[in-house]
């Protein structure tokens, strides 16, 4: 039984007192004394109190994991090797701890066929190229993309492509290819200049920042269909997030997102308890810059924030952090199917091969990973917004960042109320109160 205290989260803004009803991620305005009255009640009193606010309906999420989900997205580890030697790489320098190798055509084609075979007509399938560094195997990327486009056309499907690259191997002709195929290109950039260089050196120890900037210029110049974004992995050594964000936005990147470094194979550069407090402060500073920009109608592509705003507005509520092992899988170079790109070559997330499709381990995975079965998630108010955290990080390090996540979501809830008052049009429709 989930305690009543884990069913709601109260928060305040200048616009009044508010409440997140965890079930269904519903946001309400409540009377000023609501949180205090709630806190003063015992468990049964709290239940009655929630009922009196109308929170007594059918639960939005039950304990049952989804079954028979079609495979909608695959990431292909087209090259299990890399030309950089990032200090914290989850793939241990690109090879996932095994021999370095490229994916062959048979595996890549089977991946596309798998997506096409499982998709209902009219739906969208997604192919992501990862590694290692995927551009080491550029020829395969081109060939698979052409094949997938043709297959999608003849099967009445839409197909989306994305690639996550360190940017060092980009060529001008890549820009044309990505633009033509509407790629979402994510460049791993961990800071400005030397900050980045220290975290992401090449194998000889030299920095990569200047080279990357030169190489992404053609992409930024051509960016129409394609979207070029930056992903910043936050470690104790690159905490100046607002400056980083502002610089990358200025550069014309379509989106900029931050993720904390929680678990690296060798433990290097992982964030520790105190670091999370600092990262939260930095993230909120970025969020405030975002709020200021949105209020004056300026596009500010801080993706953590814009995603949170849309999810809170829609009331996104999920029993999993992501689609890993459900509709999304990572494919290893030799065709192994894993819960996601991070689990490649990891037995903890192995689920068969791309030729035969996911095996029964998927059902067990979905059962095990359901947030209702996670502790302490099942007594946490943030469980359906967070989903229980990245499976890979949780399995390999646990949950060191819960306070950070709650702190961030608390801030995002407040920001949501502020923006829905100040600029309701941002959410696509009037977000003012429904009146009966």
């Amino acid at each position: 039984m989930i305690p009543a205290t884990a069913e709601v989260h109260f928060f305040e803004t200048d616009y009044g007192h508010h409440m997140l009803a965890v079930d269904g991620s519903r946001v309400f305005d409540v009377p000023i004394d609501a949180a205090a009255r709630f806190a003063g009640l015992d468990e049964s009193g709290q239940r009655a109190y929630l009922d009196s606010m109308g929170l007594d309906g059918e639960p939005f999420i039950d304990d049952t994991p989804p079954t028979n989900m079609p495979v909608r997205s695959l990431s292909l580890a087209v090259a299990q090797k890399c030309n950089l030697a990032c200090t914290y790489c989850y793939a241990s320098g690109g090879d996932f701890g095994g021999p370095a190798r490229n994916m062959g055509w048979e595996v890549a084609r089977a991946s596309v066929d798998r997506l096409v075979a499982e998709a209902e007509p009219g739906t969208r399938i997604n192919l992501a190229y990862l590694g290692g560094e995927p551009l080491i195997n550029r020829a395969l990327v081109h060939r698979v993309t052409e094949y997938a486009t043709a297959q999608a056309q003849s099967n009445d499907l839409r197909v989306g492509f994305s690639i996550t690259t360190n940017g060092t191997l980009l060529r001008p002709e890549d820009a044309e290819f990505f633009e033509e195929n509407g790629f979402a290109v994510t460049i791993s950039l961990d800071g400005i200049g030397q900050v980045h260089d220290r975290l992401r050196p090449n194998r000889g120890g030299r920095g990569s920042y200047d080279m990357i900037l030169r190489r992404i210029e053609p992409l930024l110049a051509l960016q129409q269909n394609m979207q070029v974004g930056a992903r910043v992995t936050v470690t104790p050594h690159n905490m100046n997030l607002p400056e980083t964000l502002e610089e990358f936005v200025r550069m014309g990147l379509h989106s900029v997102g931050f993720s904390p470094m929680l678990a690296s194979p060798n433990g290097r550069n992982e964030l520790e308890r105190d670091d999370f407090g600092e990262m939260l402060n930095q993230m909120i500073l970025c969020g405030q810059a975002f709020e200021t920009a949105v209020k004056i109608g300026r596009r500010y592509p801080f993706s953590n924030m814009s995603a949170a705003m849309q999810e809170i507005h829609r009331g996104t509520h999920r029993p999993y952090a992501c689609g890993a092992g459900a509709g999304y899988f990572g494919v290893s170079a030799d065709g192994g199917l894993f819960a996601c790109h991070r689990f490649v070559e990891d037995d903890a997330g192995a689920m068969g091969n791309v030729f035969d499709g996911p095996d029964l381990r998927r059902n067990q995975w979905l059962e095990d990973r359901h947030v209702h079965g996670q502790s302490p998630c099942n007594i946490c108010w943030a469980r359906y917004l967070c989903g229980g955290g990245c499976h890979h990080e949780v399995i390999h390090r646990g949950r060191p960042a819960c306070d950070y996540i709650r702190g961030w979501l608390h801030y995002c809830l407040q920001a949501y109320v502020r923006l829905s008052e100040a600029r309701p049009g941002y959410f696509g429709q009037t977000a003012t109160h429904a009146t009966a």
Binding site: V27, D29, V30, P31, A48, S52, M53, A436
Partner: protein, 587 residues
């Protein structure tokens, strides 16, 4: 004892909160006849205003024959009167149109024809479409009234293959038309675009410009079929929160169960006095036309016959009721107790209904008010009987929804009835005229909080459980459970209204004392009754299989048979013969 807070008002903000928010208002099991409709389709605009621009480039008004014309006023002012030529922005007449008829009209309007039409009084003389020509004058040459012409104009068709020819005539001061008519060819306007939007030909405000005094003015009185909605006449008072018991019932049952006039002008608690039983008696205490225009928004929303305040709570609190042990137990109880009980009640009430005298043949010299009171009592009693029939159907619906393929219609009356306070007592069923003793018993049967009133509470409590995914069943049980109060009130009113005719010894003046007839005497009525039961049986079986369209044929047949049954029942009653729905000795 945990703190039991009142309902707390929260405002939904994001999309899931808004989607799941229980909006204060009518629950999904509300029927139009159970509450006041609060929209008035047909009053958004005056449809006549569409036809004033039926012909491209021209604007007409439908002019009536003046009621009190000045002697010196022009004659024959009635008809479809041309107000002005308006072709500049007419969407049917673009300058660059390749259509010959468009260019021809534009030439006319901007040339000599337009010149002529801009002076004098012009009227529509005739229209022609599909070879049919209608001249807007009667045999004697008198022009038709504008509204009559409007009806003809409404019958014109639009479409590319439906050209229209019209003629305009100029009338002089004496109303004599100039024989030199203006004839124009074109098409009737399409009033709506393909997307369902009104044509851009209309100016802002044009479609509403002739609406009468606010609808509320008419709403006070109107009971005719023009209104696609209705309003209640009498209602029960709201139970204020601070006067409600934990069950939601009032701490003052008499006050809460008294009918009030919905249109009463004094809405303060002191104005909550029982409504009288005819419109005429209540009229002096109602809001008047001039008041309703200002007060219409103060008229309370009525749900389930009761005025509601800010928030209506659909779910009754049934704290002292236990659910059935199992669904099977509930099914057994509905089959063997509840559904047969409804059948017995409806037949007892029907029997009593036929015992009421015919309002048109009573001695009005001696009893001046008896006719009206009988009309009231007959109507009220029939309403209650129909209510029980409705319950019987709902009880059957509960059964077929719960039993699926195993369902068998229950159309057999119960042998006994259990009623009274608490667990009640068992009484034999009985067919009786509506004597004062019978009314008293009926009041007991229907008394709020009595055994029968709570008969469905257990079903509600059982179906409330979240294991029943289909919420319609719960809503249905709630409907039956909350439907009984009006019956109690109706019988109480009947008692009050009819008591004054029950003064002397012997037959009360309102009654024709029918006696249970023999099967031979009532042969026709019983045959019709059997047909009704058989028709319902077939209809229910089909409905239980979701074959609603096929069941409708039987339902219609049952309705028709019921009409014949009513006529036959009246005929027998006029001979003092009651219908023996079951074998019984008169008590």
């Amino acid at each position: 004892m945990p703190d039991q807070p009142d309902f707390i008002r929260v405002e939904p903000r994001n999309m899931t909160a808004r989607a799941a928010y229980k909006v204060p208002g009518n629950p999904d099991n509300t029927r139009l006849d159970g509450s006041v409709g609060n929209c008035f389709p047909g009053l958004e605009m005056d449809v006549r205003n569409l036809d004033r621009r039926f012909f491209p480039g021209l604007v007409f008004n439908a002019a009536r024959v003046p009621l009190n014309p000045f002697p010196e006023a022009p004659k024959n002012t009635q008809g479809f009167h041309l107000i002005y030529v308006d072709y500049f922005y007419d969407p049917m007449l673009p300058d660059n149109s390749p259509e010959e008829w468009v260019q021809s009209l534009l030439n006319d309007y901007s040339g000599a024809v337009g010149q002529r039409l801009s002076q004098g009084r012009w009227f529509l003389a005739w229209v022609e479409q599909d070879g049919k020509k209608i001249i807007f004058r009667d045999d004697k040459g008198t022009p038709y009234d504008g509204l009559m012409i409007w009806r003809f104009i409404r019958s014109l068709e639009c479409g590319d293959d439906k050209p229209v020819t019209i003629a305009l005539e100029e009338r002089d001061h004496e109303g004599v038309p100039d024989p030199d008519q203006v004839v124009l060819k074109g098409y009737r306007r399409k009033y709506l675009t393909e997307a369902g939007v009104f044509s851009g030909a209309y100016d802002p405000g044009e479609l509403t410009q002739s609406l009468c005094n606010p609808w509320s003015h008419d709403f006070r009185d109107c009971g005719c079929h023009y209104w696609p909605s209705n309003h209640p006449d009498v209602v029960m008072a709201e139970v204020p929160h601070d006067a409600a018991l934990p069950t939601g019932a009032s701490n003052d049952p008499v006050r809460a169960e008294t009918y009030l006039d919905w249109l009463r002008s004094d809405k303060s608690p002191s104005g909550n006095v029982a409504a009288l039983n005819t419109v005429e008696q209540n009229r002096p205490f109602q809001i008047d036309h001039y008041q309703v225009n200002q007060m219409w928004s103060d008229l309370p929303i009525v749900v389930e016959g009761r005025e509601t305040g800010e928030v209506y709570r659909a779910d009754p609190e049934l704290s002292d009721v236990k659910p059935y042990e199992s669904t099977d137990k509930m099914i057994e109880d509905i089959k063997h107790r509840l559904a047969p009980m409804e059948m017995t009640l409806s037949l007892q009430y029907l029997y009593a209904y036929f015992s009421l005298a015919d309002p048109e043949t009573v001695d009005r010299g001696r009893w001046p008010t008896l006719r009206d009171d009988l009309i009231f009592a007959r109507r009220a009693l029939l309403e209650v009987a129909i209510g029980e029939m409705t319950h019987m159907r709902w009880a059957n619906q509960l059964l077929w929804e719960l039993q699926n393929d195993k369902y068998e219609p229950i159309l057999t009356p119960a042998l006994t009835l259990r009623f009274g306070p608490g667990d009640g007592k068992i009484f034999p069923r009985s067919l009786r005229p509506l004597t004062s003793q019978a009314i008293d018993d009926f009041i007991e049967i229907e008394r709020p909080g009595g055994f029968i009133d709570r008969a469905y509470a257990q079903c509600v409590k059982t179906l409330e459980s979240k294991t029943f995914i289909d919420r319609r069943l719960y809503a249905l049980a709630v409907r039956i459970d909350t439907d009984g109060d009006e019956h109690f009130l109706r019988f109480k009113q009947m008692r009050e209204v009819l008591a004054k005719y029950d003064v002397a010894k012997g037959e009360p003046a309102y009654l024709r004392r029918v006696k249970i007839g023999t099967e031979a005497q009532a042969e026709t009525a019983l045959k019709l009754f059997d047909e009704v039961k058989e028709g319902l049986r077939k209809a229910y079986l089909l409905e239980s299989k979701d074959k609603y369209e096929q069941s409708q044929a039987y339902i219609q047949q049952v309705r028709d048979t019921m009409k014949l049954f009513r006529v036959e029942g009246e005929r027998l009653a006029s001979e003092k013969i009651g219908i023996p729905f079951w074998p019984e000795v008169e008590v």
